[in-house]
Symmetry: C2
Subunit: 386 residues, 2 copies
């Protein structure tokens, strides 16, 4: 097991009919900016629940944060924060709204020249404006971590940021919210959380027995609940395990003491930036090729995953490892998620070269748990995913 | 899954040679009271490591906190805190030293008539004097939770306390510390952590699939590392998984959203108070009888535990559940821990009646996850454990 530090101060309020508790978590004298997305919360009743809970608070609203939270729009929200003397942010949404709120939490206090620095230079935020979340779409785990990914349409870029000051003070997770989520987004959430676990698990063994088993626990739970969530999102047992799995998949716990990969996300982000493909679907496109290309480096863990998660008992270690990649690809397909780039765009030729060049230009010369995936290898992996 | 709230702000610093980092975690202007136990830290070098790290700090020492931290001795430490204007507590020890430090954290700020109230009335501590820990004995999980158990020899009582103000600000976990721990205490730590998980798991199913798997992960890991830790505590892979399992067993995570039992601990505490039997050994005495007595109420989970943790595939649900109790008892025995009260004292007759009466006198009329273990049932369980 590698040395590690772990601290996660976010308070989770989890369960049925918990949204009203938002009023107990925000300071009474706060001036609140309520941030949300495209307006689905006004249709599914979540907006009303939050507004009712905050009747006695001074609340300003900012809606319209898009999937892949857009820098230019967030700058408009930043203006509101400054003009209205906002002191507390409340994200009501999924990962995009929460990530956008994290950017605003940092930017509201940032003293540098332009808030773009926070992203361009990956400035670590030690203290941000306090914020909480009401989760409406389980997937990214952003509700219990301190990272965010922000998109800038102008330059087709998707950049990460974070820091210990960007943990939500609280997050309210009512699994009943998934009842109104379209199947496509539920599938995305399942695939996203699944891949988050894989990025922290599918590397090489370092004797972190407990972390491995925790990761496998989340994978097994997601596999079990996935068809139930898709079939009937009002199934509370499935919904609650889905939501808690998404949160635990990326709250820092399972990555402590182990190497992590994250090359799938790095490549996937480019596909979203270039073609607007849903984030989770880009992960499903890249994962199988990535594991095949890096088969030797990952086969110990692939075989363990085969045995423990997929219960594959027969065959050599190589056979098991290979079967596990196939099982993973099938898991995505059974969610209705295509796993080849050509399923999403006819103009895929040249994508691999383009992304490899972007990585080179950005100075990302080594990716993966061994820091040895150079742009030429990235190019090969992406070609395998056409 | 039941509704829950979860927040655990303790910072964990985990790994090889991390004790020196204690200096980065304590405010420079703090006046520190360094608390420790019987002096083993002076023999194994941990004391020197801490003192060297704190060269530039203003440090007062208080040693001699015994196993089952004693109220009367803690009152002496409280005097030191007041007389020396201490502002920060540093526990260097195992669960007893850390629990004692939590009592002091609460008592140093408590405004009531006597600090005994904190225990007698189970006063919830919202804010305590800040403290950190350097763990020297993995077992209780106290290094990452907000609870403590304090003993009062005068009245042969062992009482619990806690509150959100009693999380350590940081805990340093260097698995190398177990190298100098006597086998008897290593066995106790393994049994203690194992039972902590069982108390939060061996109840009845509520559809908390992920929590169940996390609990099973810890049990599987402890079973795997137990013989290795006993055989060679310098085996770092075994040691690090042992330490992290003990912490995760009782940091709140696996109890969220599920019913919990804790009747084994309630009965075990009485055996320690009456006969001075090591805490972990009292749990090994009570557990098998408790599970046999409550077989019907627990058999669903016992059977799941049999299948997933002990890999028992054959037999009816009842058979599996029964076999799992036997496996558990054998696990304790293989650690060298006797599982009958008569192995520890010849004067066991009347113990059951005595404890049942103590529970009645204290108003503890219902224990267990169904709140239906009345003193007459407690009496029967303890008799089964003679």
């Amino acid at each position: 097991m590698n040395n590690f530090e772990f601290k996660n101060p976010t308070k989770i309020v989890f369960g049925k009919d918990t949204i009203a508790k938002v009023k107990e978590e925000i300071p009474k004298d706060a001036k609140v900016l309520l941030l949300f997305g495209g307006g689905s919360i006004k249709k599914n009743g979540i907006y009303d629940q939050v507004k009712t809970a905050l009747t006695d608070f001074d609340v300003v609203e900012f809606g319209g944060i898009p999937a892949n939270p857009e820098y230019a729009i967030l700058l408009e929200a930043l203006e509101v924060i400054k003009n209205e003397n906002i002191t507390y942010l409340l994200a009501v949404g999924g990962g995009s709204v929460i990530d956008g709120t994290k950017f605003l939490s940092a930017a509201a206090i940032y003293q540098g020249k332009t808030p773009w620095d926070i992203l361009a230079n990956n400035v670590r935020t030690e203290v941000g404006m306090p914020f909480g979340t009401v989760l409406t779409l389980p997937a990214t785990g952003s509700e219990m971590n301190s990272g965010a990914v922000i998109t800038r349409a102008e330059t087709k870029e998707k950049l990460a940021m974070g820091g210990p000051g960007l943990f939500p003070q609280f997050s309210i997770l009512d699994p009943q919210v998934i009842a109104s989520i379209p199947k496509r987004q539920l599938a995305n959430g399942l695939a996203d959380a699944f891949t988050h676990v894989l990025e922290q698990y599918m590397t090489y063994p370092v004797g972190a027995m407990l972390q491995d088993r925790f990761a496998e626990s989340i994978l097994q739970t997601l596999i079990k609940v996935a068809p139930k969530v898709i079939k009937d999102p009002t199934n509370y047992k499935a919904a609650s395990n889905f939501v808690w799995s998404c949160t635990m998949a990326l709250n820092g716990l399972i990555q402590k003491g182990v190497p992590t990969d994250w090359a799938v996300h790095a490549m996937g982000h480019e596909l979203t930036a270039l073609y607007g493909i849903d984030h989770a679907r880009t992960l499903a496109i890249i994962t199988p090729s990535h594991y095949k290309f890096n088969f030797d480096a990952k086969k110990q863990k692939l075989a363990q995953y085969a045995e423990r998660v997929w219960k594959i008992k027969k065959g050599s270690k190589n056979d098991k490892a290979f079967d596990a990649i196939e099982k993973t690809e099938n898991f995505f397909k059974e969610l209705g998620i295509d796993t080849k780039l050509s399923n999403y765009t006819d103009e895929y030729e040249g994508t691999a070269e383009k992304i490899a060049k972007r990585f080179t230009d950005r100075g990302w010369l080594t990716l993966g748990e061994h820091n040895n995936l150079s742009p030429d290898k990235i190019e090969k992996i992406i070609k395998m995913a056409y």
